[in-house]
């Protein structure tokens, strides 16, 4: 009986814990969104930090990222095409390629990429800021860190994931066309028709929203996780690993939700 009660209690604690995390995330996102509406946020300094964030999150890794997207796309397109030929379903290969790569896989991989590279860095940095009292110093100076530290990171993350996923998607489209039709314009009409069929307004809007949510998840969760770090240096790695786990769960949850909305 004791065992049962203990299990239920631990379940309850876990649930409350997760609820608290979720609440913290949404409250933070809410505050960030409110600040977005504040005119004083939009000054040159915030803009500079956003630019810097976009640079570090997207521009700096552009060539690596595009190379990686190229390899993944090429591999998958080849697999899909050869399988389709084998089963005589070539006519569905284009649509399959676009749906799998451009709509699902590339945004997901982009989010993972940014999470691994920038999300972990953000988490560490915020955790260190907190442990080193830098946040306290800012509070003493009555300078809100949200505007020049956190909000630009969120904006930069959203912009980066959306743009990188879009670029990777365009690259995959180009690659798919070349793989299927070669270096001719012969298949352009058929390809255009397929593209037109897939990308209706709902799909495009859903794709952009999904990428934006990915971008938010890979920056917001690390920031909040970093802010929760206890003021002990050895807690920084713990904070980062927790934050990254949450990022991973969030990315998967967003992907599952988008798929459910699209196909169910």
């Amino acid at each position: 009986m004791n065992f049962l009660a203990a299990s239920i209690e631990s379940l309850g604690a876990r649930f409350v814990g997760w609820f608290g995390v979720g609440y913290g995330l949404f409250a933070f996102a809410g505050r960030a969104a409110l600040l977005l509406l504040d005119r004083s946020t939009w000054n040159r300094a915030t803009y500079d930090v956003v630019i810097k964030q976009v640079y570090f999150t997207a521009v700096q890794i552009l060539h690596v990222f595009l190379g990686y997207a190229l390899v993944i796309s090429w591999l998958l397109i080849t697999i899909i095409l050869s399988t389709a030929r084998e089963f005589g379903l070539t006519e569905f290969a284009t649509e399959m390629t676009i749906r799998v790569l451009v709509l699902e896989l590339l945004p997901f991989l982009t989010a993972l990429f940014i999470a691994l590279r920038s999300g972990s860095a953000i988490n560490t940095e915020v955790a260190l800021m907190r442990v080193n009292n830098e946040l306290d110093a800012l509070a003493h100076c009555k300078v809100p860190p949200m505007q020049f530290e956190f909000l630009p990171r969120l904006i930069g993350g959203v912009i980066s994931v959306v743009v990188l996923a879009a670029l990777a998607g365009l690259l995959a489209l180009l690659l798919a066309y070349l793989s299927i039709y070669g270096l001719t314009m012969a298949g352009f009409d058929a390809f255009t028709q397929t593209v037109a069929k897939i990308f209706d307004f709902r799909i495009v809007a859903g794709l952009v929203i999904k990428c934006a949510l990915f971008g938010l998840a890979v920056t917001l969760i690390p920031v909040v996780s970093g802010l929760e770090t206890p003021k002990k240096l050895f807690m920084v790695p713990v904070s980062v690993l927790r934050g990254m786990m949450r990022v991973f769960f969030a990315i998967v949850a967003i992907e599952v939700l988008s798929l459910a909305l699209k196909y169910i």
């Binding site: 004083s40 000054n43 040159r44 300094a45 500079d48 940095e125 260190l128 800021m129 080193n132 009292n133 830098e134 306290d136 110093a137 800012l138 003493h140 100076c141 009555k142 300078v143 809100p144 505007q147 020049f148």
Partner: protein, 132 residues
């Protein structure tokens, strides 16, 4: 410890600079986000403050690149920028461990552009270091 209130600007070890911002950017945060000046004007004010203390050349340095004295000056400039009625230097010995700090602080305070009085909180066994 001195209570944190709006009337007091503190210079203390536990109120460090923002590590990935330069000295001038650290100081410029205050006019920028408290008084809503634009970025150029804020930077100009921060630079003027550093010049007033005689340390205009450290403007582009970040926290890890500074000597303790430079770091202290930047923190002091930030505290001055807050323009609060009282300015407290909390245990300067912890921050200024590479210079004879009472003389160093006195020299900074004596600069013509700087006004106001600074309060120094220090351990009483260091009292002998202060001339007055």
């Amino acid at each position: 410890m001195v209570a944190q209130d709006d009337g007091v600007a503190r210079v203390a070890l536990e109120l460090p600079l923002r590590a990935n911002l330069t000295a001038v950017d650290n100081i410029a945060l205050i006019p920028l986000y408290q008084r809503h000046f634009d970025a150029a004007e804020s930077t100009r004010q921060a630079r003027a403050m550093l010049d007033a203390l005689g340390y205009g050349d450290i403007a582009a340095l970040r926290d890890p690149d500074m000597t303790p004295a430079q770091r202290f000056v930047t923190q002091l400039a930030r505290a001055l920028m807050l323009k609060r009625p009282r300015l407290i230097i909390d245990r300067p010995g912890a921050m200024l461990y590479d210079v004879p700090y009472p003389a160093f602080i006195a020299q900074l305070a004596a600069r013509p552009e700087i006004d106001g009085t600074w309060e120094i909180y220090d351990f009483d066994w260091n009292l002998a270091l202060y001339p007055q």
